[in-house]
């Protein structure tokens, strides 16, 4: 027998392979509903019933878009698979497309409807994808298909001819009434092409391609659509809002120019020619209704899913959690009354739900408990995610191990759960209360079998040893315990086999990596043209979190340190621009400076409006801020014209303000921070507080910290 044959039996080769590829159970929690790891290890059979029910809820609003808004709570223990389930709805292949809004923060100090509106706008304009498609692209394409088709159908034969200007002699021929049939045929072809349903999977750009094939310039198609819109839309306020939204969407699809839509949704809607100046709340409600109408006409359901509610509501430990929860649920109920056609999904940790819901006002509870009737599923009030049964746990283990084991040519001869045994899987499935606990046990077990005894002894003996000794210590239900022992707490100690100084095979949580990952995701979302403008309120909320975290973790900038932070202070009548974060910076033995920090993202005509709104904060009596810092995209820092005049006027009146240039990475950091904190909290064992993040903030956001602080000498 050769040496190679003696060493490389199938189990040995498999172990070697597993050792090289790493522990597939390392990722044992979903960071957020967009985490790609979820798709990597997805097991379709897991929570299949619950998924079908949720998709049925969404379909309810697809087929009857004006159905009353309702709430469906999805409850489960921490680590039961709620975020994974949400991911499968948002990105999975099941079901048609829907606009799924998954807020990453809860802005307690903001009016709920305003908060919800800007979450919707952020999702619509952002670069984040759902089922591999940007919301703006999908909605825009659907809309333009319909509008362009209607516009073409409404054209007279002469107008159709004008769409295709004939070159040279053809022009003379047309005057004589010749050569018109080709134009008619092209129009007919384009109309039919646009009437056909979108080919699946959806790919953006089909309308522009169809126009190109028919020989119509996108600019001409846009004119056609805009003329059609002005014919069909009313001239009241709601009609004007709808008109701007439709035109903005058409421009984004046909000319790839999203700035007009972004500008209208953040600025233009408040500048319409109103007879009576509406209040901030009226403006928000009117815009929300206009957007919803557009989406409902396209049969695109709007789903607002609050994931990791415990992190959203309890992000600030100092807050009164019951008050926060009450304002959140009251806000949802209020939004349900004001806007139809929204499906609210609340993915909540069961303990949080049990604690907060009984203390809510009776009316709010009744609305939350309102049942929904689903075809083929009966009436549902709430969905509960329990620990999966043994056969599903086995499939989950298989799904994790498969990518590695499939690299072996003769993997068919190997157990799909190698290196585990059926007994080990059964024990873990029986004793662990949640899916996440099970994955963590498998992670430990994998490390012990694959890495634990690899240094000494032959592989067979390791395997046997592994089978005999590597069963995880069950947390509950140990049958060897004497009957009088009613509970056991397992205190885990480091792996005995490791020598001092030896690198642990267990994956350590790298906070820096997590930060970089979230930063990349946020950057991708902010890259599209109008995304930054659309994310104004989300970024402001991120700025609030940034400073709050800096305050709680004792961040210092030179001699300055934070004394007090108000994450969001809303003022004035402008829903987008009337918000600042207030930070009190204090020097040793000095009086604190009350600094207002805001985002100055308005462009074009929105620029002076944004600036004047922000500068108005310095005029509020009694004085709330002493100094104003405005964060402006670095590519448009210069003030001119009306903006310059406003700035100089403020300076003349002795107001202290300064502009700070911020790069896309800086804004991405603000956007990423709340998600980063949520991911970090999720990765920690229950009850464990966040580690001190002062060093991380000072290392990763050094420049940003200096920009939002008082000037540092030297």
């Amino acid at each position: 027998m050769s040496t190679a044959a003696a060493v490389h039996t199938l189990p040995e080769r498999a172990l070697e392979l597993l050792r090289r590829t790493g522990n597939p159970f390392r990722n044992y929690f979903a960071r957020n509903p967009d985490d790609e790891v979820c798709a990597l290890y997805h097991v379709p059979e897991l929570f299949v019933r619950e998924r079908e029910q949720l998709l049925s809820v969404v379909d309810l609003y697809r087929y009857a878009p004006t159905t009353h808004s309702e709430v469906v709570p999805v409850l489960g223990s921490k680590g039961s698979g709620k975020t994974h389930l949400l991911h499968s709805i948002k990105h999975g292949p099941d079901g048609a497309w829907q606009l799924l809004v998954t807020p990453g923060t809860y802005q307690r100090d903001t009016d709920f409807l305003e908060y919800l509106l800007f979450q919707l706008i952020d999702t619509l304009l952002g670069g984040g994808k759902q089922k591999n498609t940007r919301p703006l692209e999908y909605i825009g394409e659907q809309l333009v298909r319909r509008l362009l088709c209607d516009a073409l159908k409404g054209l007279s034969p002469q107008q159709r001819l004008d769409l295709f200007p004939a070159p040279g002699l053809g022009r003379w021929a047309r005057r004589l009434g010749l050569g018109g049939s080709q134009a008619q045929e092209r129009t007919q072809w384009l109309t039919e092409s646009l009437t056909r349903p979108c080919p699946l999977p959806f790919q953006a750009g089909s309308v522009v391609r169809a126009c190109g094939e028919a020989g119509i310039e996108p600019a001409k198609a846009l004119d056609l659509v805009c003329a059609h819109i002005s014919r069909i839309e009313k001239h009241d306020t709601a009609g004007l809002m709808r008109r701007h939204i439709l035109e903005g969407l058409a421009r984004a699809v046909l000319l790839h120019d999203e700035s007009e839509l972004a500008s209208f949704l953040t600025y233009g809607f408040a500048e319409l020619d109103f007879h009576v100046r509406p209040t901030r709340q009226d403006l928000v409600l009117a815009l929300f209704k206009a957007i919803m109408q557009v989406l409902q006409e396209l049969n695109v359901p709007v789903v607002v899913a609050f994931d990791q509610l415990e992190d959203l509501l309890l992000a600030r430990r100092s807050d009164d959690s019951h008050r926060t929860a009450e304002s959140f649920f009251a806000g949802i109920v209020q939004a349900m009354h004001q806007i139809d056609g929204i499906s609210f999904l609340i993915f909540a940790e069961r303990g949080l739900w049990n604690r907060f819901v009984p203390s809510l006002d009776g009316y709010i509870r009744d609305r939350l408990n309102n049942p929904i009737h689903l075809p083929n599923h009966g009436t549902i009030k709430t969905l509960r995610l329990e620990a999966p049964p043994l056969d599903l746990v086995r499939r989950i283990v298989e799904a994790r191990l498969r990518p590695a084991l499939e690299k072996l040519s003769d993997c068919a001869d190997l157990s799909p759960i190698f290196p585990f045994t059926e007994e080990q899987i059964a024990l873990v499935a029986r004793t662990e209360p949640t899916l996440r606990d099970m994955l963590q046990q498998f992670r430990h077990l994998f490390d012990r079998i694959v890495y634990g005894a690899s240094e000494t002894g032959d592989a067979n003996s390791q395997r046997k040893q592994g089978e005999e000794t590597s069963l995880p210590t069950p947390r509950i239900g140990d049958t060897n315990l004497p009957p009088e022992v009613k509970s056991v707490i397992v205190v885990e100690t480091p792996t005995a086999g490791l020598q001092q100084g030896e690198e642990s095979p267990l994956p350590t949580l790298r906070v820096g990596d997590l930060w970089d990952q979230e930063l990349r995701t946020a950057r991708r979302k902010l890259e599209p043209e109008g995304a930054l403008t659309g994310a104004t309120r989300e970024l402001q909320s991120g700025l609030g979190t940034f400073l709050q975290l800096g305050f709680e973790h004792g961040v210092k900038v030179g001699p300055w340190r934070l004394h007090h932070v108000v994450p969001e202070w809303t003022f004035g009548e402008h829903p987008t621009y009337g918000v600042l974060t207030i930070a009190h910076w204090v020097c040793k033995d000095g009086q604190p400076w009350k600094v207002g920090i805001g985002l100055f993202l308005g462009r074009g005509p929105a620029k002076p409006r944004d600036l004047s709104t922000k500068l108005a904060a310095l005029e509020v009596e009694p004085s709330v801020i002493d100094h104003l810092i405005l964060l402006r995209p670095e590519d448009d820092l210069t003030l001119s014209g009306k903006s310059k005049a406003l700035w100089q006027e403020a300076e003349r009146r002795g107001r202290h303000a300064r502009l700070e240039p911020v790069s896309l990475d800086g804004f991405a950091a603000l956007s990423a921070l709340p998600r980063f904190v949520a991911s970090l909290t999720e990765s920690l064992p229950e009850g464990q507080p966040l580690p001190n993040l002062a060093d991380l903030l000072q290392e990763k956001c050094e420049k940003l910290l200096e920009q939002v602080c008082m000037p540092v000498q030297g």
Binding site: K78, G351, W353
Partner: protein
């Protein structure tokens, strides 16, 4: 004459109203009836039937056990005798007539008298039950002595026939329970389990979206102590009949800490039924 007959009618109707079921129409030495067993009584009874104040009720048929006399003499004897006597019960019309003729107070007094009579009967029954229990205890003591004597005579390796007696003896040592009977503790546990499961089912059917808090469940259950309640919860959890859910807030916020239950590495404070 008419007055006397009327008096008989009213008395009979009062008695019939105060009795829940049917009553013998005529009295006898052993048992009182609605009317005296004489000509005037029969005439009054006839009048009541004609006027629709009373209706005749068919007498219950004697069961085989009754006729065999296995269930005890007194009750069987009454049933045998009443089998031939017509039974009567008051009608709605009779009750209306009675209330129009006499004061409700008088009717109520009749009720009270009937209740006192029933009370005496219950006392007698309880007395009899106690006597029977004492008799069984005395028998048990005697049998215990006899069994111990047999055990001494046969020794540890006695004839195989003693196996059954040994089992009987062991049963007696265990507070008189035979091997086939369920121990009282187990019976109590089962009852408590059923109560808890019923409580959780009710909670679920009430439409609450949250899980049932343990203090609420304890108040629904008939547990002797919180310890017994916790044991029952643990057993149901082991049997995979319920889920226990943890308290995830700060520990100082638990509203009623004594009811919380440490299970595994979690502090359970809620429960729900497992489908």
């Amino acid at each position: 004459m008419a007055d006397k007959s009327n008096q008989l009618v009213l008395t009979a109707l009062s008695r019939a109203a105060a009795t829940a079921g049917a009553v013998p129409l005529y009295g006898s030495k052993a048992q009182a009836g609605l009317f005296p067993n004489n000509a005037a009584g029969k005439q009054a009874a006839q009048r009541c039937q004609e006027d629709g104040y009373l209706c005749l009720v068919p007498a219950p048929e004697a069961t085989p056990s009754d006729s065999n006399g296995e269930t005890g003499g007194a009750i069987t004897l009454v049933k045998k005798k009443t089998a031939n006597v017509p039974l009567g019960a008051i009608t709605e019309k009779g009750l209306t007539y009675l209330l129009s003729q006499v004061s409700p107070r008088q009717v109520l007094e009749d009720f009270v008298r009937a209740l006192e009579g029933r009370q005496n009967q219950v006392d007698a029954l309880l007395h009899l039950a106690r006597q029977v229990q004492q008799g069984i205890e005395a028998m048990k003591t005697n049998v215990d002595k006899v069994l111990q004597q047999i055990c001494k005579l046969e020794g540890p390796s006695g004839p195989g026939a003693a196996g059954h007696l040994k089992a009987l003896f062991a049963g007696f040592l265990n507070d008189g329970d035979s091997p086939r009977s369920t121990p009282p503790a187990a019976t109590n546990d089962t009852a408590l389990h059923d109560t808890l499961l019923a409580g959780l089912t009710r909670w679920q059917q009430s439409g609450a979206t949250e899980d049932c808090p343990l203090p609420h469940l304890y108040r629904q259950a008939s547990a002797r102590s919180i310890g017994q309640f916790h044991d029952a919860l643990r057993q149901l959890h082991e049997l995979r009949k319920i889920y226990l859910h943890p308290w995830t807030g700060p520990l100082y916020d638990i509203p009623e800490p004594p009811y919380a239950l440490l299970i595994g590495h979690e502090i359970a404070y809620y429960a729900s039924i497992r489908k």
